[in-house]
């Protein structure tokens, strides 16, 4: 699990090349490479695309197409903490939408955005497989279920400390 506490490292071309070299021997290496790049740098910077393209002998457009197809890959690093709130049907049935509105109000942001102080990014996720303990969320990779406004406020306060 990725801990957001240490924060991502600054872009480093040599390190990115090492990551690519380490994984390019896999069958279908592009997704594992993109995951590893994002793990290291907190996002997939544009500067990574030509490096990957050259190593895998594909066009830069192909790499760009894959990066932008998948919801997981970011172009900018997220806030220090990432809260992924489930907005799929099972959580909807337990009031997920009202929770999202509460979060947006209390943090002063819209789902998908990062708070002005860079502390927290709130994103929608469509199902965490915690549908029997709905509503649920993932805070920095830690699963939380049976959420309500009070529980969310406590989590947010703890995260900000």
């Amino acid at each position: 699990m990725t801990s957001q506490l240490t924060g991502p490292d600054a872009w480093d071309e040599a390190r990115a090349s090492d990551i690519i070299a380490e994984l390019q021997g896999l069958d279908g290496p592009l997704l594992p490479i993109l995951h590893a790049i994002q793990q290291a740098f907190g996002c997939v910077p544009e500067a990574a695309e030509p490096l990957i393209a050259a190593a895998l002998n594909i066009t830069r457009a192909e790499v760009h197409g894959v990066v932008t197809f998948y919801h997981d890959f970011r172009r900018e690093p997220a806030g220090r903490h990432v809260l992924k709130v489930c907005r799929a049907e099972a959580c909807q049935s337990m009031g997920a939408e009202a929770l999202v509105s509460h979060l947006e109000r209390s943090l002063g942001l819209r789902c998908g955005e990062t708070s002005a102080d860079g502390q927290i990014t709130v994103e929608a996720v469509y199902c965490l497989g915690l549908c029997a303990v709905a509503p649920s969320a993932l805070l920095d990779g830690v699963v939380v279920g049976r959420l309500n406004e009070r529980k969310l406020d406590t989590l947010m306060a703890e995260a900000k400390r």
Binding site: V66, Y70, Y126, C131, A132, S136, G141, R146
Partner: protein, 516 residues
């Protein structure tokens, strides 16, 4: 004095505090100088009782739940003195909700240590692979055919026919791919197996490899399942060390190795051809069929693509024989289905039982109605692309054909319960919206139809001419159903049309506003 405790590390249990409970037991044990052996298991699937803690007694395992860290001292008193406790549930196996089930696939889940290959063996594991190795590929496929097992991912295609097609396809390199991109809301059975009984999935895939002659397999797990990914990766390492993977699997001539691949947040990658594209490192864009993946799948080679639950059903079929499995079920739906009760339901969790129970029995009887205590109004079966069922259709038996006859689908077995506060116009809108977010963009009906659907539903809310808008929705659904390349666009009409047909009052906006 010492105690042997079982505490789940399933993410559904972790989400409600299992880790804190385990830590509290460790601390309390230290304080009392009481030797505690804590075994971390999967979940038994009774999520309203999680975190559920079990203790080994001479009479078998006894359960307590739902446990909070503050309960731990009192529980240790009760456990050491065999005294009553308000959280006591009695012998685990006698809990009625568990006792009523037929656990073939989930027999070990919540019972054993998911990481222990010895535990797996001691509880009947690897018998299926051994028998497959002695039968050989052709006879193993025949067993699967005779069992009547159909793809548990949702499509319900006979697994044995798929395997036979791959076995007969020419080519030296073949692949086994497990679709663990369990994206449907209301489903978590794949996750539970991967976290609670990972060797079962590995054994099922190994049997498939043996049957069709494949040397390499991939498990494509969605990135939203970090615990499942971690558990499967550790299990694969242990399986290699323990000889379950590698050369001569199960004592056969076949070698087989596995790799876990993480998805990247795309729902459509649960569609088998887009999953293959994703594994190849491309955009998850759906392929036109034919060619079938069985003929030209991963990297153009013959490939078995099955859901986690399909592979997980295989070891039982091989170990106990096709008939033992096919004896359960109804009609053409043979064996058991792990039903997942989710959403606004009192007794949410995993309920594995033979096909044939009615939807009403599942929701009212097993689920115990809503968690909020309000009346059940709608039940969505089969994920975001499944139909909404009203109470009037609660006599529908859980069976692929019976659900299809009522314009619905069993899908991956998820049952999401809504109480009477649900707004079905909003749910229909969400079905279109979800499709517009997740469409791969290849075919027009799905890519554009979903967006037009959202807009048209918004117009139902705001304009007077609702009749023509509703006619437009119906027309759009017809186009998407028959014109889309895959089930994403093709099945969106199920939730939309069922909402419209069974809950028309929610689409009559002025009347609703007057009533409010």
């Amino acid at each position: 004095m010492s105690l042997r405790l079982f505490i789940p590390s399933d993410s559904g249990a972790l989400a409600v505090g299992a880790e804190q409970v385990a830590a509290a037991f460790v601390a309390a044990g230290n304080k009392r100088n009481l030797a505690l052996e804590i075994v971390r298991t999967g979940s038994r699937g009774l999520y309203w009782l999680e975190p559920m803690v079990e203790v080994a007694t001479p009479q078998g395992r006894v359960a307590y739940g739902p446990v909070e860290p503050g309960d731990v001292d009192g529980l240790l008193d009760a456990m050491t003195q065999q005294a009553p406790h308000r959280l006591a549930l009695g012998p685990t196996e006698d809990i009625p909700w568990l006792k009523r089930q037929t656990r073939l696939t989930f027999a070990r889940c919540g019972v054993t240590d998911p990481m222990s290959l010895d535990d797996y063996r001691a509880h009947g594991g690897l018998k299926g692979l051994a028998r497959a190795a002695s039968l050989g590929g052709k006879a193993s496929i025949e067993e699967i055919l005779q069992s009547g097992l159909r793809g548990r991912g949702g499509a319900g295609f006979p697994t044995g026919i798929k395997w036979r097609t791959v076995a007969e396809a020419p080519g030296a390199q073949k692949y086994i791919v497990c679709n663990a991109d369990e994206g449907d809301s209301g489903t978590f059975a794949d996750r539970m197996i991967m976290e609670g009984d990972p060797y079962l999935l590995i054994e099922g895939m190994a049997i498939a490899a043996l049957a069709v002659g494949a040397s390499k397999g991939f498990i494509y797990i969605r990135s939203e399942y970090p615990h499942a990914i971690a558990t499967m990766e550790r299990a694969i390492v242990a399986a290699r060390a323990g000889g379950l993977l590698g050369k001569a699997i199960g004592g056969s001539q076949q070698s087989f190795d596995l790799e876990v691949r993480a998805g990247a947040g795309s729902y459509v990658c649960g569609e088998e051809t887009s999953l293959l594209e994703s594994l190849e490192g491309k955009r998850g864009v759906v392929r036109a069929k034919p060619p079938l993946p069985a003929h030209q799948g991963l990297f153009g080679k013959p490939t078995v693509v099955n859901n986690v639950l399909s592979f997980a059903a295989v070891p039982f079929v091989l170990a106990e024989g096709a008939k033992a499995y096919a004896d359960f079920g109804m009609g053409r739906s043979r064996g058991t289905m792990p039903i997942q009760l989710a959403g606004n339901v009192r007794h949410g969790g995993l309920f594995e039982i033979a096909f044939g129970l009615t939807l009403g029995e599942i929701v009212d009887d097993i689920g115990g109605g809503t968690l909020t205590g309000r009346p059940v109004r709608a039940v969505q079966v089969g994920g975001p692309l499944g139909a909404y069922f009203p109470r009037a259709l609660f006599d529908t038996p859980f069976d692929y054909e019976a659900f299809a006859a009522r314009d619905g689908l069993v899908g991956h077995g998820g049952v999401v319960v809504f109480d009477d506060t649900v707004d079905m116009l909003k749910q229909a809108r969400f079905a279109f919206e979800f499709c517009s977010i997740e469409s791969c963009g290849k075919c027009t009906p799905c890519r554009i139809g979903s967006t037009r659907g959202v807009e048209t539903i918004d117009l139902i809310r705001t304009t007077d001419d609702r009749a023509s808008r509703i006619a437009l929705i119906k027309d759009l659904c017809n186009t998407m159903k028959f014109g889309s390349l895959c089930a994403l666009g093709g099945f969106v009409p199920y939730p939309v049309m069922s909402a419209l047909n069974h809950f028309p009052e929610d689409f009559d906006v002025p009347q609703r506003q007057a009533a409010e």
